[in-house]
């Protein structure tokens, strides 16, 4: 379903009761350089357990930030602290230069879409979207035109009179989005908005949400446990684990330069290989030496992290560089085959490598075939061997 081309005015009409919110076209930003949302040392405890642990984060105006982490790592807790629904135990939150740490939710400026959508089942689509508008004592006509505008924005004009139970999951999600945008909030919060949907609808809605966010220039914080979702949608990704931030960076940085073993393992697939430093610029895996960027005393145990697609294979057994390996297992993943590679020289270690399926067919690949594997030094990330994360 195509998005409408209509632009929304960046602010709700005649907002008489509250102080002006959000980016106002006629008002200069407080300070152009200040981030829109700032979290300072935010922590949240439930009794003795710490759900969010000393999180600091700056989000720029108009930015789309994803918080990515395994389930139970404190993402929702962090989001609810930002809303004021479950206030933080420690720390400070600033939005648009204003300290909102102690404000009740109703005094903050955000729209939210929950995983369950939380649509009101007894109200029609239009009534759901109008819910936030109706208690502002606006003329009915203004409310109606605003609702029409919002429904057009998410492409649901035709379904205005339906009840939520008469909509598909994707349509319900759009209604929730329109309702969250009704008061033209300065900040949009999305808690796993797509996880209840079919894979196909999910991919489609990723693009729609992102396009909408770009068009409105809306500062957005989305929570997800799906790394693919985060990578395809976000300007920046915040990877969380056990209540703490592991890394903040662009999707490329998170994928290609993971800062910790946890990030390396959580985003995409990763080979973790126990090794020890051989000399500066070289590590030893069992009896095999491998060039990589490492600067530590020889003998220091390390973990090498390599993406399966960065393990390059050839059938040339006489190649000078590389590790001679044997194919121990084959897994068909569609466009690529994932090979499990091993060799006596590697000991018990195995190496996973991705090979284009066409290439594998050409080689007539089967179990027991011997190959040469090479890894570019730049494709290897070296972590200290402390067993943490991963």
């Amino acid at each position: 379903m195509p998005m409408s081309a209509t632009e929304l005015p960046p602010h709700a009409p005649s907002d008489t009761h509250d102080a002006p919110r959000g980016p106002h076209p006629l008002r200069a930003p407080v300070a152009a350089a200040t981030p829109y949302l700032r979290l300072h040392n935010l922590s949240k405890r439930f009794g003795s357990s710490v759900a969010v642990d000393d999180v600091s984060l700056d989000i720029e105006r108009g930015e789309f930030v994803c918080i990515l982490g395994p389930s139970g790592c404190g993402k929702t807790t962090l989001l609810r602290a930002i809303c004021g629904l479950d206030p933080q135990s420690f720390g400070r939150i600033e939005q648009d230069g204003r300290d909102i740490s102690q404000l009740p939710p109703a005094a903050r400026d955000f729209g939210i879409v929950f995983q369950s959508y939380a649509l009101f089942p007894n109200l029609t689509v239009a009534q759901n979207v109008a819910f936030g508008l109706e208690n502002r004592r606006q003329p009915r006509a203004a409310v109606r035109s605003r609702v029409a505008e919002l429904l057009e924005l998410v492409g649901l004009q035709a379904l205005a009179g339906r009840f939520p139970s008469e909509l598909s999951g994707g349509q319900q999600q759009r209604v929730a989005l329109a309702r969250a945008l009704a008061l033209a909030p300065g900040l949009l919060l999305l808690d796993e908005p797509l996880s209840a949907l079919d894979a196909r609808v999910r991919v489609h809605l990723r693009h729609e949400i992102r396009a909408l966010q770009r068009r409105l220039g809306l500062t957005t914080l989305m929570i997800t446990h799906d790394q693919e979702e985060a990578i395809t949608m976000a300007d920046r990704i915040v990877v969380m684990n056990r209540g703490r931030i592991e890394q903040i960076g662009t999707p490329e940085a998170i994928y290609c330069e993971p800062a910790t073993p946890f990030v390396a393992g959580f985003v995409g697939t990763m080979n973790f290989i126990d090794a020890e430093v051989d000399a500066i610029g070289r590590a030893r895996i069992g009896e095999v030496a491998l060039d990589c960027t490492v600067e530590a005393f020889p003998g220091t145990p390390v973990r090498l992290a390599v993406r399966p697609e960065d393990v390059l294979l050839s059938t040339d057994e006489d190649a000078l560089h590389g590790i001679a390996v044997e194919v121990r297992a084959l897994e068909f993943l569609g466009p690529v085959l994932r090979l499990t590679l091993g060799d006596a020289a590697l000991g018990a270690r195995v190496l996973y490598a991705d090979l284009p399926a066409a290439q594998a067919r050409q080689w007539g690949l089967s179990l027991g075939v011997r190959l040469m594997a090479t890894i570019e030094p730049t494709a290897i990330r070296v972590f200290p061997h402390d067993g943490a994360g991963a």
Binding site: N41, R80, L85, L103, F110, I112, N122, L123
Partner: protein, 563 residues
């Protein structure tokens, strides 16, 4: 880490009113529940002049053999009733949920019908069936019905549906997969019953037994009418307070009555907590016909249903007979309450008022209270406290509550003294008496709603009351109607709490039954009992007919897809 005390904490008006609501609710429950019970407790440890004398009153109680005997009598009667009712209700519930006997709907209807009658009705019917001029008095082999036999039979009649409801729920939640597994493993029917069915229903059985025990122990209607000179705790309380005006000893006996009820209640809550919820992957169990099981069960159910209908029918017949047993012509003369000693149509009208007002006030109060407890994100300790207070009435027998109310509200120093003898205090007492079940029902309904509605409302800067009116109430309407129905029927049939609190102007139908029976006008008493039953049955039927249609009209979204 910086613990930041931000700017002045903003509390919007909205939050202020919600907090105020919680405090008000606490105050209300304090005045209508805690303070009266405190008055009762303190009276039981004072002497006639009001000085604290420790447990001397209890020592005196134990030194009176007559009073001590009734404790044993009460436990015996309640124990016997519990055995009989739990066993028969289990068979009945088993037949309704796990077999393919015909007419299951009709059987269910018959078994639940005693809920609509005051507990006095079976007692009066027993007088006509087994009394000195009873139709089938020979069936007792010369034993008198007045005494333990009558109390047990009468109690069985009206507690049966309470136990049945619990067991129906316990047995309905069967996991079909377990039965399939048992069949696949070649387990015999009897073995499956012992290893799958019984353990699955264990908590239901214990719960049903405890509820039956408490109900019988604390009931006053049946032993008052059919108990003869067989004393039990409940009639002792009444005799001490109403007969001898001995409030001190009344308070003592009430506390002796309260203790086992409290113990049973706590036990029941404990067990309920262990009751594992059915896993969401459970498959419903669908019984298949098996004559060897179905026909004996059908015979048992028929026998029980005939007994229940027989008692009910006897009450109706007796109310229509001119002069039992000499002139059996049918007449409506017994319903001419204004001409009868102890009864009046005023009592019936008062009962209707009480039921209506209790339904309105009780539903409003209980629902708002449950809503405040569940949906207000403030003062968690206070909400916990209110929730506990809301559970208390379940443990307090109506008689005990009634005496507590006299002692508290009738105290000359109480500023609420003016309430005494009004319809208002009857409404307040009845709401308090039935608060727990209503509260639990409302809480269940509220917990079924998406917990994020409140968060969405806050993000749209909607005041809580608007979300309540626009979303929460419409979504809970069926539960609300059920709640109102529950209060209405119980207010109509209850006698235990109100028997101490009525005045000549606010006399109630259930009380009129007692008074007519006392005055020897058993036919009039039967007629009034039948009036209550018919009224409750009519309102219940009307409700079943109308509520579905009403919901369809008012709430089209419930229909699902209109396409």
């Amino acid at each position: 880490m910086s613990a930041v005390l931000g700017p002045v904490v903003t509390r919007d008006a909205n939050a202020f009113w919600l907090r105020a609501g919680l405090w008000l609710l606490l105050a209300y429950l304090g005045v209508t529940l805690l303070l009266p019970l405190y008055a009762l407790l303190s009276r039981s440890v004072e002497d006639a002049a009001g000085h604290f004398i420790g447990l001397a009153n209890f020592a005196e109680y134990l030194s009176r053999p007559a009073l001590r005997a009734s404790l044993g009598n009460s436990l015996l009667v309640a124990g016997l009733t519990t055995l009989i009712v739990t066993a028969t209700a289990f068979v009945y519930a088993y037949a309704l949920t796990r077999s393919c006997i015909p007419a299951r709907g009709a059987f269910r209807l018959v078994a639940l019908s005693p809920l609509l009658a005051p507990s006095l009705l079976p007692a009066i019917a027993l007088v006509y069936l087994f009394g000195r001029q009873g139709v089938i008095r020979d069936w007792l082999f010369g034993e008198p019905i007045y005494g333990p036999i009558g109390i047990v039979i009468g109690s069985c009649f009206w507690t049966f549906p309470h136990a049945l409801t619990i067991l129906l729920i316990a047995l309905a939640g069967a996991d079909g997969r377990l039965y399939e597994a048992a069949t696949a493993l070649g387990s015999s029917h009897w073995r499956t019953f012992r290893t799958v069915t019984l353990p699955g229903a264990k908590y239901g059985l214990i719960s049903a037994a405890l509820v039956t025990f408490t109900l019988t122990l604390t009931d006053f209607g049946v032993p008052k009418v059919i108990g003869g000179d067989y004393p039990v705790l409940a009639t002792d309380v009444y005799k001490q307070v109403v007969g001898q005006q001995n409030f001190r000893m009344g308070a003592v006996v009430a506390i002796v009555l309260l203790l086992p009820a409290l113990a049973a209640f706590i036990l029941e809550r404990r067990i309920g907590r262990h009751h594992s919820a059915l896993s969401s992957r459970a498959q419903p169990y669908l019984p298949t016909p098996r004559p060897a099981r179905d026909w004996p069960l059908f015979a048992c159910c028929s026998l029980l249903a005939v007994a229940l209908l027989g008692i009910l029918g006897m009450a109706v017949y007796a109310s229509l007979v001119r002069l039992w047993p000499y002139d059996l012509t049918l007449t409506l003369a017994n319903y001419n309450f204004d001409l009868r000693d102890g009864g009046s149509w005023l009592a019936y009208r008062n009962s209707l008022w009480l039921a209506t007002l209790t339904a309105l006030a009780g539903t409003t109060l209980v629902f708002l209270g449950a809503w405040l407890c569940e949906k207000v994100p403030a003062l968690p300790w206070l909400r916990g406290l209110i929730h506990m207070l809301a559970l208390l009435p379940m443990a307090v027998p109506g008689l005990v509550l009634g005496i507590a109310y006299i002692l508290f509200f009738n105290h000359p120093g109480n500023p609420l003294h003016g309430l005494y003898g009004t319809l208002a205090i009857l409404v307040i007492a009845t709401v308090a008496h039935f608060y727990t079940v209503g509260h639990l029902g409302a809480v269940t309904a509220l917990r079924q709603l998406d917990p994020e509605y409140e968060a969405v409302g806050a993000s749209l800067r909607t005041p809580a009351w608007r979300l309540l009116g626009r979303v929460t109430l419409p979504l809970c309407l069926p539960a609300l109607l059920d709640l109102a129905m529950y209060f209405f029927v119980n207010a109509l049939t209850t006698v235990s709490a109100v028997v101490f609190l009525y005045s000549p102007d606010t006399v109630l139908a259930a009380v009129a039954i007692l008074n007519m029976d006392d005055a020897g006008d058993v036919a009039g008493a039967a007629a009034m009992a039948v009036m209550i039953f018919l009224t409750a049955a009519m309102v219940r039927t009307l409700y079943a007919q109308l509520s579905a249609r009403l919901l369809r009209r008012l709430q089209p979204w419930r229909a699902g897809s209109r396409a």
